[in-house]
Symmetry: C2
Subunit: 430 residues, 2 copies
C-alpha cells in the first residue's frame, strides 16, 4: 500500500512544483492525492479534502465527473487528436458553434490554444498584427495595476503582480499600467486610463483587463460600470479591448461571462480554466469578423496569423469542453448557482464581525475575506492554508485574502463546512 | 449522415485555424476528420489518409491507440486533475521518476507545463533568474539562425524563422542569433557562437538550440559534434545550454533523446509533443540539482520560481505519458525503429536522381527531401500537399522541403506508400 509519506518523498526527490518555494515543503503539509470524487480529494492515507478552490479555479462539476468521463472515454476510441492546420473534427466544430452562440453576436471567430497564457499571447499578437497589417506599428499594451494575465513573457509583461513579474523586468517588453478600479475606484481608474490613452495615442494596440475580479491580485473586485465606461473610452481612442475571462468565465461571476454584466462586447475574449470543466488544458481566443478579415487575404501579402501550438484544437480537450457545456445546459447550472450564490453570500456575513477582517466581498461564485493587521512577512495565508488542510478543507489564500471558489456541484452543507473552517482559522489568529 | 462538405462549412464559419492563411482554404483541400486508427485518419466521406507527419510530429504509436486509451479511461475514473502546488499524484511522480532515469544523471529535477512554448519560456526564465538570484543581470539569450522554439513572445524572441517572427519584431525582446551549423557547417557556426559569447560576455544567461534537427526551419540537420563543441564553449563562457528537444525527443532522431548522440548533458532539457504519444498537451523542463538549489531558500529571500499554469502536472497528460513510456519499454521501440530507419533511408535514395531534388537527409525517423529551382512564391510545398492528400497521404512540406516523420507503428508497406506518393508528387512537378 502506498502511503502519503512514501509518495511525498518520491515526489520531492524530482518534482519542482509550480508557484512554490520548494523549501516551504519541509514544513508545509504536502498532499499526494490518490483520487477525487465530486468536490472531494482523497490522499494516500485515506484523508478527505473539500476542494474549496476548484483546484486553482478550474473544476466546475466535481472531480472524476461521470458524465464528462463517459464523453472522454468515447472520444479516445474515436479520435484523440489530429493536426489542426488544414484539418478539423466534430468536437472542435461543435465547441466553436456553441461558444459563438453563448457569446455576443460580434464574436464570430475562434482561435484555439492550450492554456491561458497562450491565449493572452495570441490576443496580444493579433491586436498588434491587426494594426501592423494596416501599416501601423502600435507597440504599447495597456493593462491594469494589480492585474495578472499569465506566465509566458508576453502575458507576464502585461501583468502587474510584482511577486510574479518583478524579477524578470529586464527580459520583458515595456507595457503600461493604468490604475485599477478595484483599488482606487472607477472614476480615478478611468481618468488614469484616459491619460495613458492620450499619452500613447497612436501607439496602443489594446487594453487588457480581467473583468469584474482581479483574481490573482487578491480577488480584488470592481463594478461592471467601469468596464462599460472603459469600452467607450477604447472606442474613442480606437484601441482594442481584450477581456481576459480565463478565471472569471463560465459562470464564476454569476453570469456565463463577466462582460455580460457590463453589457459590452470585447474585441477579444480569452477563455480557459473552466472551459474543460477542470479536466484538460485548453484555451480559446474569440474575436470579430472584422479582425479576422484584416488577416484574410492572399498568402503572398504576408498578413497571415501563423501562430500554432502542436495540440491546438485537441479533440480530447474539445470533448471535455462540450461535455461541460452539456452540463450547463441540461442542469440549468446558472439558475441553480443563484441559490448557491445567495447561500455563500449569507455565510460570508459573519466574517465581518471578526476584528482581524478588513472586509468581505463577492461576485457570484467567488467570495473573499480580506484580513487586516498582518505584515506580508507573517505569511498569514500560509497559516490558514495549513489550518484548513488539517481540518479537511483545501483553501489557498492569496496573501491576506482568504477566498472561496468552489465547484458548482457544491452543496449548502459543503459551503457551510468550508466557510466554518475558514472562520475558525481566521478566528484562531486573533 | 454528416459529410465533409457540411463539416467544412460549419468549421470555416467560426474557426480560425493555426498556422494558416484562411483564404487558402477557399481552394485547398480542407479535411474534417471523423476518426483515427493506427497511422490512418478517416474523413466524413470515408476517405483514408496516411498520417506521414504524425499530426505535427506528436503521434508516436498511432491514433486511438488501444493501450493508451485503456490507461486514460482508468485515470478519468480515479483522478482527472488536481492543483499541482502543494499537491501531487502518482502519474506525475511515476513520470518524473522515469524521465529522470531515461535522461543523464545530472538532470534530477523536473518542472511541468502545458506546451512546448511554455516549456521554453520556463527554461529561459529559470536560466535568467538563476543568475539574478545570484545578483547578476544577464538579459541576453543566444539562439541559432533558422531556429524555431515556439509562439509565445519569449519563445518567439529566441526563434529565427522570419515567417513566424518578423511581423512581431517591435513587441519582442532583443535576443542574439549565432550562425546555424545546419546552414554553414559546424566550424563557422562555432566561430560565430564564440564571437557572440565574447561580445556579450557577462550578459548571456543561456544558449538555446534544437539538437540535431532544426525542424520548423526546414528539417535542417547538423552533426552531433557541433553540440559537444557548443557545450564545451558554454562551459568556458559560463552560460547555460538549453536543449529544445520538443520535436526531436522521444526517439525521433534514433536515440531516446538527441543530446545522447553528442554525449553531453544540457543544463535544461525541454520536452513536449511526443511525450504523451500525441494525445494531450504536456511539457516538462528538466534541470539539475544545482539549478534547483539556487532557488531553494527561505521564502522571504524572494528567490522562488513562481511560474505556474492552471493545468500544470495534469493527471491525464501524465498518464498518457506513462502509457507512452510503457510502450517504449514493453515493445523495445528504439530497437524496432532501427529497422524502420534503415528502410526509410533506403526509400529516400531514389529521390536523389530527380532533377528537381537538391538533396535528401535523414536523422533517425525524420527524413527530408529538399527541392531546388523553385521560388517561394510558387508555394511548391502546397502543390505537393494537395497532390499527396488526393492520393491518401498527409504530407505537409515546409517550403521546398518535403519530409516524413511517421508514427513509430508505421509498417514497411506504409513507409513505401508515403514515399511513393511523395516521389510521384515531386516528379509531377518536373
Amino acid at each position: 500500500m502506498l502511503t502519503n509519506k512514501e509518495m511525498r518523498e518520491r515526489d520531492l526527490a524530482h518534482i519542482w512544483h509550480p508557484c512554490s518555494q520548494m523549501k516551504d515543503y519541509e514544513s508545509l503539509p504536502f498532499i499526494p492525492i490518490k483520487s477525487g470524487k465530486g468536490p472531494y480529494l482523497f490522499d494516500f492515507d485515506g484523508k478527505r479534502y473539500l476542494d474549496a478552490i476548484s483546484s486553482w479555479w478550474v473544476n466546475l462539476f466535481g472531480h472524476a465527473n461521470p458524465y464528462i468521463n463517459e464523453r472522454i472515454k468515447a472520444q479516445v476510441d474515436t479520435l484523440e487528436h489530429v493536426i489542426f492546420a488544414g484539418f478539423t473534427h466534430e468536437p472542435a466544430i461543435r465547441l466553436a458553434e456553441r461558444l459563438v452562440t453563448l457569446t455576443p453576436d460580434k464574436l464570430q471567430k475562434l482561435f484555439f490554444a492550450d492554456n491561458g497564457s497562450s491565449a493572452i499571447e495570441i490576443a496580444l499578437k493579433m491586436s498588434f498584427q491587426y494594426y501592423k497589417n494596416g501599416g501601423e506599428v502600435r507597440d504599447i499594451f495597456i493593462s491594469l495595476e494589480n492585474s495578472y494575465h499569465g506566465e509566458t513573457m508576453g502575458a507576464l509583461a502585461v501583468g502587474d503582480v510584482a511577486l510574479y513579474k518583478e524579477i524578470y523586468n529586464e527580459i520583458l517588453i515595456k507595457t503600461v499600467q493604468a490604475k485599477s478600479p478595484a483599488l482606487v475606484g472607477s472614476d480615478e481608474a478611468l481618468d488614469s486610463m484616459e491619460r495613458l490613452l492620450q499619452e500613447y495615442e497612436g501607439r496602443v494596440s489594446a487594453v487588457v483587463i480581467e473583468p469584474l475580479v482581479q483574481c490573482a491580485g487578491g480577488m480584488a473586485m470592481y463594478d461592471a460600470s467601469y468596464i462599460s465606461d472603459l469600452k467607450a473610452l477604447c472606442e474613442v481612442y480606437g484601441v482594442f479591448l481584450i477581456a481576459d475571462e480565463i478565471a472569471v468565465g463560465f459562470g464564476r461571476t454569476g453570469t456565463m461571462f463577466a462582460c455580460e454584466q457590463a453589457d459590452i462586447v470585447p474585441d477579444f475574449l480569452c477563455l480557459s480554466k473552466g472551459i474543460t470543466g477542470g479536466y484538460l488544458p485548453l484555451s480559446v481566443v474569440m474575436t470579430s469578423d472584422e479582425v479576422y478579415n484584416a488577416f484574410y487575404c492572399d498568402y503572398s501579402e504576408g498578413k497571415s496569423f501563423l501562430d500554432s501550438h502542436s495540440y491546438t484544437g485537441n479533440a480530447l480537450g474539445c470533448i471535455a469542453a462540450n461535455a461541460t457545456l452539456d452540463i450547463f445546459e441540461n442542469e440549468r447550472i446558472l439558475d441553480a448557482n443563484l441559490v448557491k450564490i445567495d447561500i455563500l453570500g449569507a455565510l460570508l456575513q459573519r466574517f465581518e464581525a471578526l476584528p482581524n477582517v478588513l472586509e468581505t466581498r463577492q461576485r457570484g461564485m467567488i467570495a473573499a475575506v480580506e484580513l487586516k493587521g498582518y505584515r506580508p512577512e507573517e505569511r498569514i495565508g500560509l497559516q490558514i492554508y495549513r489550518y484548513a488542510l488539517a481540518h479537511g478543507v483545501l483553501l489557498r489564500p492569496l496573501g491576506n485574502v482568504v477566498y472561496f471558489m468552489p465547484p458548482y456541484i457544491v452543496t449548502e452543507e459543503q459551503l457551510t463546512e468550508m466557510t466554518d473552517v475558514a472562520y475558525e482559522a481566521i478566528k484562531s489568529l486573533i
